[in-house]
C-alpha cells in the first residue's frame, strides 16, 4: 500500500515584500485507503501545502521532506510526481483553449499508464465516468474548462481523478462554489474512489459541509502554516459547532 509522508515541510513564496514563510513545519502521513480532512481558516496555508506537494514553481521548499513510498517527491518534476501516483484536484482549474477534454484526458492517461489505452475501452471508460458525474457527453469535445461553470470544472477535476486512479489524491477545496446537487454528485465520485481502497485522499476544506457526504478517518486542523490539532471525525463536529477560534487562541 502506498504512503505519502510529509516531514517538517517548510515553504516560502516570493511576495512584493520579499520572501514570506507560509508553511512552518508540516508533518502528515497519508496512506492509501485512508481519508484525511485538512481543515483551516482562510490564509492558513492549506492550498500552499497542496501546490507545494504537486510541485508548483511558485513555492520554494526551504526544509523538510516529502516521500511517496520512500521516493523523494521533492526531486521530481511536476509531471514525474503525477506519474508516480500523485494527483491534485485544483481549486481553480485553468482553461486550456483548443484542447478537448477527451484529448487532454487521453494524453494524461497515456502518460500515467505508460501506454495509450485501447480506443474502444477508452471511449467506454470515459463515457461511464462522465455519466457517473452527470457530465454531459458533449463536454468530451469541449476545450478543457473553457466556458465551464465552477461546478462543471470541479466535476471535471473529479472525472480526472476517477480515471487516473492515483495513489494519493489531494483535493484543494473541491467543495467551494458548489451548490447542493453538485456537491452531492462530486462527493459520490470521491467516495467511489475511496471505496476502492487504493487511493489515499487528503481533502482540504474550509467548511465542514462536504464532510456530511465524505467521512474522513482523520481530521487535521491547520493554522499559520502547521497542523495544530489532530483527531477523528469528531473534530470536524467541534469545528462545525465552535468554528476555528478555539484553535486560533490555543
Amino acid at each position: 500500500m502506498s504512503v505519502l509522508e510529509i516531514k517538517g515541510l517548510t515553504v516560502q513564496v516570493t511576495t512584493d515584500e520579499g520572501q514570506k514563510d507560509i508553511l512552518r513545519g508540516v508533518d502528515l502521513t497519508v496512506k492509501a485507503g485512508e481519508t484525511h480532512a485538512l481543515m483551516g481558516p482562510n490564509g492558513s496555508g492549506k492550498s500552499t501545502l497542496a501546490y507545494a506537494i504537486a510541485g508548483h514553481p511558485k513555492y520554494l521548499i526551504t526544509g523538510g521532506t516529502v516521500t511517496l513510498d520512500g521516493q523523494n517527491v521533492l526531486e521530481m518534476s511536476v509531471d514525474e510526481r503525477a506519474r508516480a501516483g500523485m494527483f491534485l484536484a485544483m481549486q481553480y482549474p485553468v482553461e486550456v483553449p483548443g484542447v478537448s477534454v477527451s484529448n487532454f484526458l487521453r494524453t494524461s492517461i497515456t502518460a500515467i499508464r505508460g501506454e495509450a489505452p485501447n480506443l474502444r475501452h477508452w471511449i467506454k471508460e470515459l463515457k461511464e465516468a462522465m455519466a457517473g458525474l452527470q457530465i454531459d457527453q458533449q463536454f468530451a469535445e469541449r476545450s478543457v474548462n473553457e466556458g465551464f461553470s465552477g461546478g462543471e470544472r470541479k466535476r471535471t477535476e473529479i472525472l480526472q481523478m476517477e480515471m487516473i486512479a492515483p495513489k494519493i489524491a489531494v483535493l484543494d477545496e473541491t467543495d467551494s462554489g458548489l451548490d447542493v446537487d453538485a456537491l452531492r454528485v462530486v462527493s459520490e465520485g470521491i467516495n467511489r474512489v475511496i471505496a476502492k481502497g487504493e487511493t489515499g485522499v487528503l481533502l482540504i476544506t474550509h467548511f465542514t459541509r462536504i464532510l456530511k457526504y465524505i467521512k474522513p478517518d482523520y481530521v487535521h486542523v491547520f493554522y499559520e502554516g502547521r497542523i495544530v490539532r489532530e483527531g477523528g471525525p469528531e473534530l470536524a463536529d467541534e469545528i462545525e459547532a465552535n468554528g476555528y477560534a478555539q484553535f486560533v487562541t490555543a
Partner: protein, 378 residues
C-alpha cells in the same frame, strides 16, 4: 497569457487612414522607405526591391486549378484599365508589369460544394500576378489560393463579392525558403454580401499581405482571419484596412500567430475606420501572439478610428505572451511532460482558429507544418 518583456509590442496613435494616393501607375507613388508609417516594421533591404514596383519579371508563376462545375477560370484574360487605383506602390507595380489577368468567376446563384483550389507555383523567378475572384450574386463558394514553391512575387487578388453572395477565400502562403511575397488583397462587398478572408502564412523569408475591405451597400459582413507561424529570421506581416463607409455593415478580425526562433518577426496592423455615415457598424478585431522562444519580436497595432457614435459596437484587443505557466503546470500535474504540454497548448492555440476558418482541407496541412517546424526547432 503572461506578459512578455523580452520583445516589443508597439502601439502608435491612430493616423488618418484615408489613403492619399490611389493609382494604377507605380510612378505616382514615392519609393517607400523605412521612415514611412506603412513600412516602419518592414525589412526594406530584404524585399529584393519589389517595393519599387520596377523590378523586371524573370519568369511567371505556374497556375493550376481544379475543375469545378459552376466555376469559370481564365488564366489569361484581357487587362482592362477600368480598375480602382491601388494604394500601394508594389501593388501598382505588379499591375503595371503584367500583360493579363487571371479571372475566377463563381456563377450567380451557384452553391459550390467542392472547394476550389488555385495553385500559384513559384519557379525561383521574379514574377507578378493579378487574380480576380468574382463571386456573382447569391453564389456560395470556398476558394483556396495556394502559394507554393519559391519566388520573388508581387501579386494582387481582387475579390468582388456581389449582392447576397457568400464566399470564403483562403490565401495560403506556404512558400519555400528564400521567397519574398508582397500581396494586396482587396475585397469589395455588395449588399448583404459575406466574405471570410483567411490568410495563412507559414513559409517564405518575407511575406507582407495587405488585406482591405470596402463595402458598397448595407448588410455586408467581412470576417478576416489570419494564422501565421514565423521561424528564425522569417518576417511575416499582415496589414489590414477595413473601411466602414456604408451603414449597417459588420467586420470581425481574428489573427493569431506564433513565433519561434531568433529574429522571427511578426507584424500585425489592424486599421478599422468607421466613417461618419457608417451608422449601425459592428466591428471587433483581435490579434494574439504566442512567443515560443527568446529572440523573436511581435508587433501588434490595432487602430480603430470612429467618426460616428451611432454604432452597434467597436472594439479591439491585442495580446502577446509566452506560454502560460499555469496552463503548463496544470497539464504537467496530469502526468504530461513539459514538451508535450507545450505542444498541446500550441496546437490548442491554433485549433480554435482552424475551427473558425472551417475549411477542413487546410487543417492537416497547417497542423503538420507547425508540428514539423516545432520538431525541427527543438
Amino acid at each position: 497569457m503572461s506578459a512578455v518583456t523580452e520583445h516589443e509590442v508597439s502601439l502608435v496613435p491612430p493616423t488618418d487612414h484615408s489613403p492619399v494616393i490611389r493609382s494604377l501607375d507605380p510612378s505616382d507613388f514615392p519609393t517607400p522607405t523605412s521612415r514611412d508609417e506603412e513600412f516602419r516594421f518592414t525589412p526594406m533591404n530584404r524585399l529584393k526591391d519589389l517595393q519599387t514596383g520596377a523590378v523586371v519579371a524573370t519568369g511567371a508563376m505556374g497556375i493550376a486549378i481544379n475543375k469545378v462545375a459552376g466555376v469559370e477560370f481564365a488564366e489569361k484574360s484581357p487587362k482592362s484599365t477600368a480598375r480602382r487605383g491601388f494604394t500601394d506602390k508594389a501593388a501598382a507595380g505588379a499591375w503595371s508589369l503584367i500583360d493579363d489577368v487571371s479571372t475566377l468567376t463563381v456563377k450567380a446563384n451557384q452553391s459550390i460544394a467542392e472547394t476550389v483550389v488555385v495553385s500559384l507555383v513559384g519557379s525561383n523567378a521574379v514574377s507578378y500576378g493579378q487574380l480576380d475572384i468574382n463571386v456573382e450574386s447569391f453564389a456560395n463558394a470556398v476558394i483556396i489560393v495556394d502559394h507554393i514553391g519559391s519566388a520573388t512575387y508581387a501579386g494582387n487578388i481582387d475579390i468582388n463579392v456581389a449582392d447576397g453572395a457568400h464566399v470564403t477565400v483562403v490565401s495560403m502562403q506556404d512558400w519555400d525558403t528564400g521567397t519574398v511575397h508582397l500581396g494586396h488583397h482587396r475585397i469589395t462587398l455588395g449588399r448583404d454580401a459575406y466574405v471570410k478572408h483567411v490568410s495563412v502564412t507559414l513559409g517564405g523569408d518575407v511575406v507582407r499581405i495587405l488585406p482591405s475591405v470596402e463595402y458598397t451597400a448595407p448588410g455586408g459582413v467581412a470576417e478576416l482571419v489570419g494564422l501565421y507561424f514565423a521561424g528564425t529570421k522569417q518576417h511575416t506581416e499582415h496589414r489590414l484596412f477595413v473601411d466602414h463607409s456604408v451603414p449597417h455593415c459588420r467586420s470581425n478580425v481574428v489573427y493569431k500567430g506564433a513565433l519561434d526562433g531568433v529574429d522571427a518577426h511578426t507584424v500585425w496592423v489592424g486599421d478599422v475606420l468607421i466613417r461618419a455615415n457608417a451608422i449601425g457598424t459592428d466591428t471587433y478585431e483581435i490579434n494574439r501572439n504566442l512567443v515560443l522562444s527568446p529572440g523573436g519580436r511581435a508587433d501588434s497595432v490595432p487602430n480603430l478610428e470612429i467618426e460616428t457614435g451611432e454604432i452597434v459596437g467597436a472594439g479591439h484587443a491585442s495580446t502577446t505572451g509566452r506560454f502560460d505557466d499555469e496552463q503548463l503546470f496544470y497539464l504537467q500535474s496530469r502526468g504530461i511532460s513539459e514538451d508535450e504540454a507545450r505542444r498541446l497548448v500550441l496546437r490548442g492555440f491554433f485549433e480554435d482558429l482552424l475551427l473558425q476558418i472551417g475549411v477542413p482541407e487546410i487543417n492537416d496541412r497547417v497542423r503538420d507544418s507547425i508540428e514539423e517546424r516545432l520538431a525541427a526547432a527543438v
